[in-house]
């Protein structure tokens, strides 16, 4: 039963990952990414690490990829466009990536003595990947790296805020986050009507009224 589930979701993870890279429509690619992440979460659960699996769905599939989709839909990208980069550079980057990946693979299998058909590795235990085990490890042995990662995220948030801020602060009113179109929006409930502007709806009425006043 477990073996069947493993192969099903392993195949799903690899298949959908290939779709992520190859599909022409960014929406399909992103949705395939969700499928990849979900399959990975199932594999984590099979490995005996349900907490990691649930976090994988909660953080990546449930939040980060939604942001990807949000941006793609805001930009309304329909089809893939040809990038204006040198193919040669791409090739060298791809080769570098492949070498790094194979190196990691080598580290994972040869150095740890894992072989296909060899003795099964020890299962992940509760005090390694369970809630208590993870928390204890994070807040004792790995406290410094944990805090540094937190600091890094904070810096990233501040950086994003600074980058997203408009350079021309004159056009944005402090209380108005959403400005549509080019001209700054005036809220009819908050600003007084402009006495020199004729009404669009009834120009004759408002101009005659102004004459009556003067």
């Amino acid at each position: 039963m477990e073996t069947v589930i493993f192969f099903l979701f392993a195949a799903l993870a690899i298949g959908s990952a290939i779709v992520v890279v190859t599909h022409r429509s960014p929406i399909y690619a992103t949705l395939s990414l969700v499928l990849t992440l979900f399959s990975m979460a199932v594999l984590f659960v099979l490995l005996g690490a349900p907490f990691v699996g649930v976090l994988q769905i909660l953080v990546y599939a449930g939040a980060i990829v939604v942001l990807f989709l949000f941006v793609i839909m805001l930009l309304n990208v329909q089809k893939e466009e040809n990038a204006h980069v040198d193919r040669g550079v791409q090739l060298w980057i791809a080769i570098l990536g492949a070498v790094v990946f194979l190196g990691l693979f080598w580290l994972a299998f040869w150095r740890t003595g894992l072989r296909i058909g060899g003795p099964a590795p020890a299962r992940l235990t509760e005090d390694l990947v369970g809630l208590k085990g993870l928390a204890t490890a994070l807040f004792t042995d790995y406290l410094l790296p944990f805090e540094i990662v937190g600091l890094l995220l904070l810096v990233a948030v501040i950086g994003a805020t600074v980058a997203a801020r408009r350079s021309d602060s004159e056009t944005v009113r402090p209380d108005d986050d959403f400005v549509s179109g080019d001209e700054p929006r005036t809220d009819p409930l908050r600003s007084l009507p402009d006495p020199h502007r004729t009404s669009v709806a009834e120009p004759a009425y408002s101009s005659s009224k102004r004459e009556a006043h003067s």
């Binding site: 979900f38 976090l55 939604v66 839909m73 369970g130």
Partner: protein, 342 residues
């Protein structure tokens, strides 16, 4: 029967029971919503079919089934057809972690009355419900319609914003209990003779407001605001496909209500009543359903009482008020737990 098979069969039976309950939420709420709306607006509402118009949902269901199933010519077909089905999937999965009674003994085996008694309980609920946004996004994108797309964009932004506050409010409940098991949270409230909504009042208010936003209910139904977006992400859907979205919305409401009841109102327990065995199970399930029913009525009452938020107000409320409040609540609860006051 081996232990594994017995557990599997027990889980299937329990899931079947919960499924039978939750699938009936949408038709019942359809009637409740329309009658309550009519009552609040001082008009009779649907009252022709059966006593008090009770058979109206049956007529609606028939109508949904026999209407023409239209697909827009320029729609993205696979995504368009998949979206309503995907909407139901998280809705009918999340309630597996909700406990609905005390442990019962069947053939000498102790069976906990929760479909999936997993260590990650609450987190599993939040994780699966966070996947619900994809069906809205797929529907909005695949319809190839400006209103639908705008609705989908709004939905994804809104759900992400309010999920943070909701999760932080839930985490504050977990700290004094020290467990992700929802049954432990119920047991904690029963042992202390105090429902969590009193000591965790700020967290409860954040949870309440965020759950309205998470289920796209008024005053947070911006993704389907009918005065601006026709019907938002499901503008192009008709017949049974629309009915599936409808079903998903109400099932989500019921599941989230069940979570809220379990976290803040003692779940399936009644104060000062300790029943066990089959009687306890029956009373437990009835109590849980009654509490969920009250929550659903509250959802309806709010819907026909408050006007809709403006989009910038919605974002401001989520990020500038609810999120800081939830973080503050989390810190205060952690400090109070450390000091031994909770």
């Amino acid at each position: 029967m081996s232990a594994g098979t017995a557990d599997f069969v027990a889980s299937l039976v329990k899931y079947g029971l919960m499924f039978a309950v939750f699938i009936n939420v949408a038709p019942i709420m359809n009637w409740v919503e329309r009658r309550a709306c009519a009552y609040i607006q001082d008009r009779p509402g649907p009252n022709r079919l059966g006593p008090l118009g009770l058979f109206q949902p049956l007529a609606d269901a028939l109508k949904f089934m026999f209407k023409e199933d239209v697909t827009p010519a320029l729609a993205d077909k696979p995504l368009y057809l998949m979206a309503p089905a995907l909407a139901l999937l998280p809705a009918f999965t999340t309630f597996v972690v909700i406990p609905f009674g005390p442990d019962i003994v069947v053939n000498g085996r102790t069976v906990p009355l929760v479909v999936a008694n997993v260590a990650t309980g609450v987190l599993l609920f939040l994780a699966i419900s966070s996947l619900g946004v994809y069906s809205l996004v797929m529907a909005g994108y695949a319809s190839n319609n400006k209103f639908s797309l705008l609705g989908a964009v709004r939905a994804s932004a809104q759900l992400i914003s309010y999920e943070l506050a909701l999760t932080l409010a839930v985490l504050a409940v977990l700290i004094p209990v020290g467990s992700f098991h929802l049954s432990d949270i119920v047991a904690y409230q029963q042992a202390h003779h105090l429902w969590n909504f009193i000591p965790q009042f700020i967290g409860f208010m954040v949870f309440l407001i965020a759950s309205f936003a998470e289920t796209n209910r008024l005053p947070f139904d911006l993704p389907e605001a009918e005065s601006e977006l026709v019907a938002g992400f499901h503008t192009e859907y008709g017949a049974m496909r629309f009915a599936l979205f409808f079903q998903a919305e109400y099932t989500n409401m019921a599941a989230l209500s069940a979570l809220g009841v379990t976290l803040y109102f003692g779940g399936w327990t009644l104060p000062f009543v300790h029943l066990s065995g089959w009687l306890g199970a029956a009373v437990g399930l009835a109590t849980l359903l009654a509490k969920v029913g009250i929550c659903m009525a509250f959802f309806v009452w709010i819907r026909w009482t408050f006007p809709r938020f403006r989009y910038d107000q919605l974002m401001r409320l989520g990020w500038k008020i609810l999120l800081p409040l939830a973080i503050l609540n989390l810190i205060v609860v952690a400090a109070m737990t450390l000091a031994g006051w909770l």
